[in-house]
Symmetry: D3
């Protein structure tokens, strides 16, 4: 597990435990052992079981964590996702933090899977956005991939995307794309947001590699795909929902970006059930 | 603004900007200025505008941020929440991070307000849980208060709550409450989770201060409130939704805790619209 | 061992070792081994032997540390508290830092034990304060418990205590307690400082849970306990010394808080004696 | 103020405030202002008023702090050491942390002053040791100087001191000093601990620059000073108390090191008295 | 100045100052002021004057720093690059750290300028590599741009480059490029290292966007450019020196990457000359 | 390995890997293993192989690293310095960072060895300076020792060196040395920079321990050594090159400090060659 993720977990545990888990210290003997299982209380797609395990390992490096499902598996309500044995105080102290990660990441994977299924059979790919939870992006983008989506640029530093505000500031699609092409690292493509066909034509003429078609109707998207004619990669963006995504995909766009994957996925209900106690 | 929040913002900006905002560095002159407004694209309750401002201030300490609404205000779609002027590169680099905070926190405040309104006129208070986003709890609990909710304990270190797993480990409600009462700091009350009336009676007898009534039906809750008879504070918990919360409140419980406030609140759609450019 | 404590130890070692232990690097071969014992040079109560061990483990994870006494044990001058074997350079580099922790924590446990013994047989408990060494509170409060004392709130975030300055600012005991009761998390009690019987009566009337009786004479304390009559928990505070604590306890107060436990406990003299060298 | 000290203060405040000062947030309005004075409740020597100020400044950068005494001043009980005005919540939140620093540092300066006075008129200097509070050494060594003492090496990295354990490991004073002289950076002297006159003679012969005379009686010290005869700097060490230090100094040693200055100095009692409230 | 750079500077100052600048504290009064100038003792190209200024500002936020040259300016021996006035102790404490940054960054800019001049008039661009000083990449890549070079990918996270070891592991250029194309974020191009014309043809056929021509002779490079025929971007790499770079550029390659820009640029000799003292 | 070095390595890896090694994640299976060797492509002196190993260990704690040469060994082009086996992704992700450390540190050791050899047989020692890479000093000073050089003071905190700017500020060599001698910790010597014989005589008279002879000609150095006559340690400094160092040493100075050892040593070319793949 990479250092960044270990740090995220350590800080999350510290946020919840701070100067100590008063309750368990009062009632659970330091030497008590326990075992439990992670029970899915509703259906979903698994992501983040390794993060869940890391929470427990950081508090009890001798705990035994056994995954019963794999990253990306769809599970039904009632499924046991994993089993754990270890020091009872560690299990209780890490429980909430571990579930907070797991429920959120499964939520994202589950919603992404729904979007992916909805466009199956079209050529379109579901991609994420930078609308992620601050400081959890590395985990959330991973959950998107596990759910069947694809990752857009990770951050401001690894992709060029000229958005409406850039175009407003620079004075037009042409000027913006030309400036970006002139100075960009040779390893990066240039993507530009367009809101109508005139801008699309401009973008193609000046050499954009990718166009983000922002908030277009189905008709406009269809027309845009025709105009693009394979010269640029097309990405539909804005107001995409589960009820509209299939129609958007049918227009022939290459990519459909969905902010809700990470900013509005409801958590999946999962609990830790203690199944045994004592000196295991 | 407290140091903890400044650190959260600094790390969030670092996550998104890293080695630099390539796009803006390519197309926006370093000396360019811009101004914009934060536009609500749907109705909601405001929380986190100061966090939003902090994002921009950390990148441009001379930027001017003018709040047009106050923490806790309900706003409609189309409302301008704030205005900003500053260096264009700073505005573009902080935009996404600032909105990621603001949209999430408004989402929590908005959902909390809906729950609060639903129990208005009853004696029940809506309280949050520890089911928060890892490392954002301080902001999310604040949004709950702004939305009209109340805060439960912040973390494991500042409140005693004997849950099902503690009771399982210790061997019953009585043993658990007794142990907690014996050793607790004198400043803390003892709360215990009960799942039926027998446990409730036990809890009262052994001197619990607060009982969490876990996943009880409306009928069970009503009965429990009668049994409690003011001797203990009662908290309903588990599976509380907007459609059921009023009925739960009507049973006479003192508190209703709702995990969804922080783990499943959908983001509120807000955007930054650039309204002017040049050497302002 | 929790992460917070490991960080404290790591930073303490770094403070003393910095760019390197010049002396040992000059005269002790990198491969040399050594063994030694921790010798108490005066009587005391043990606290912090695990912190002591952690200092050595962080520099030599293969070192063998054998505790000969347990947390809370009273020891006499001449007692061997522990034995250690490991790389000689690690032993020498960690020695001072390890002893600095150990001597201070034993000092606190020892002084607390003296206060606890002095009130034995009364109903009073000795409690600590927030007058701890900055950034060592978690260790010092632990030493207090080991010594037979009880912990007051850990910090500003986990207990409500309305002190003289709050009351001055808010305009009286009644207003302060009322405001605190209105908004407090339901898991916390309300404690208020009172300096005379009028304030005590006010505090009881307005529903305080605990009263801190500040700097009262033995006579005033006795009177206050009568007035309190079990309606509130009573805590004597201010100027408590070993010579006065028994008389204070005899007044019938529930708690006696003693700042000196952590701010003025003299260190217990302990040394590390090298007992063997070579390739052990 | 250097960055290291700012970090120490920030972490100390964070330790005490954490997720928030519940009490003040409940009863003190966010906009309330207050003013107060720092009142010495017993006599002492001042050290650390700047650290005290830094605590408040970090929470309210607009607060006004006025020092009424200077670093190193002796003060009597009843003296006002400083005045402060600022946001009431900031004053209350920083109060304990600020006093914890100030009381400890004044304690060290006061005890050091007592030792310094006790050797006044002799040629001996009082020096500190590495027996400091973990992670506060930079402040504690400063307090020693303010009190009239001198600093020994700061840490393991900036001075060579061959102690009993080194000599044990290396096989004698001669071997140890010779090895140190052979490889040391040319900017550092070599100090060696000796416990008898034979070792002292050895140390001088092999070219030590400084000898630490460990736990010698007054007679032994006198003899050692004669043997040293100005060829090496002499430092008396071990079991030095206020009642014995003058006699030690009278033997003619150059330096007397006193661990108690930093490991056992009782705190000086100082309080913050709120003297005014409202919109100042 | 971005937070990352401020942290680099703060840590560099801490490395050199640690527990204090003993020399200046001994001989320079705390209140003394000084002024000085940064004198180039040999010719070069300027980079990093803002980092130099930041070093002084962090120790004396009231110091006045006046740049006399701009980033990217060529200067001759004897040129004054900047002037500074501030607290004398701050100037002396920051001097070495500031110069260590400045001399290194000017060294990189100077060497890059020499390479850029050597290929002037050809279509080739000089680009940097990831062979930078650990933890200083953001500054060193900036110095390359200032010197007239271009930046290759910043790190492993923002560009795809299939190197010899990837190809070895995957089993050939074709397999490697195909795998990369299949899964890459749509914003990134695919670059692949080739060592002969067969691999080059493979790379073009399978759709690589960029080819790195590794350690080819001038003749091979010329042939490769012909084969590439504008279908892919060509980058010459390996063993490029000032004496060979013009000939390499003349082959028609698009890019020439030079590791020596950052791993072997000699420092430019610059000193801080104190020009005035006293209460300025 | 000490904590400081582990942190340096961790941050260096984080700088290069950030949110992930895109290339390897695309083309190398997570479970693939690989083995390789570190091949010197030019002659040099080894330093930093343990840092190199640490880079890989932090990413794959099960990797097997076998050193084939020892710290300080001279190697020829074509030498295998070490072998490694481990997870292929870890090898590829750590490769560049590991080599960046190794190449730089070997560069320093190699250049230092050349200077050391050049003065062999004279009494002079080669010493380093504080002209090191910011935040890598602990590694670079180690490489100097490995190469046969000696370390000057590590930083501002562990040695007293009165330089031209101090003398300018204080008003002369005599005043500066006298002030330093009066207040210095007794463990430190006093070094002063002199630029002519008058200053040298002053320095000796006032009791300096070491003189830095700054930028003197061979004739001046010879004269200075005569004047010093063993009363002070002499250090030649300024503009020392491989072509002049032998003549400088022949003047009889004790030490010759060379900034170029750390600020301008060219990197030694070393590569990692993958020699096997699959499930090893």
């Amino acid at each position: 597990m990479e250092q960044l993720v270990r740090t995220i977990v350590a800080e999350a545990l510290s946020e919840d435990i701070g100067s100590g888990d008063i309750t368990s210290e009062l009632v659970v003997p330091a030497e008590a052992m326990a075992e439990g299982r992670f029970l899915a209380k509703e259906a979903g797609v698994l992501s983040g079981l390794d993060i869940c395990e890391e929470c427990f390992s950081q508090l009890d490096d001798a705990c035994v964590f056994e995954a019963l499902c794999s990253e990306g598996d769809a599970f039904t309500a009632g499924t046991d996702l994993a089993r754990i044995r270890g020091r009872a105080r560690a299990l209780l102290a890490a429980e909430r933090t571990a579930l907070n990660f797991l429920q959120r990441l499964c939520g994202i994977a589950t919603l992404t899977r729904q979007f992916s299924e909805a466009v199956r059979g079209t050529g379109a790919q579901i991609v994420d956005t930078r609308k992620t939870t601050p400081r959890l992006r590395v985990l959330e983008k991973r959950a998107v991939k596990v759910g069947g989506g694809h990752n857009h640029r990770f951050a401001l530093y690894d992709g060029i995307l000229l958005k409406d505000n850039h175009i407003e500031l620079v004075g037009g699609v042409k000027a913006a794309v030309a400036a970006a092409r002139a100075g960009r690292p040779h390893t990066l493509k240039v993507e530009v947001e367009v809101t109508n066909l005139e801008q699309l034509v401009e973008a193609i003429e000046v050499g954009a590699d990718i166009v983000m078609l922002d908030n277009m109707s189905i008709e406009e998207l269809s027309e845009a795909v025709k105009v693009a004619a394979g010269q640029v990669i097309t990405e539909a963006s804005g107001g995409v929902g589960l009820e509209t995504v299939a129609a958007i995909a049918a227009t022939g766009v290459d990519l459909i970006s969905v902010g809700a994957l990470t900013h509005s996925a409801p958590a999946i209900d999962i609990s830790l059930e203690i199944t045994g106690v004592g000196a295991l």
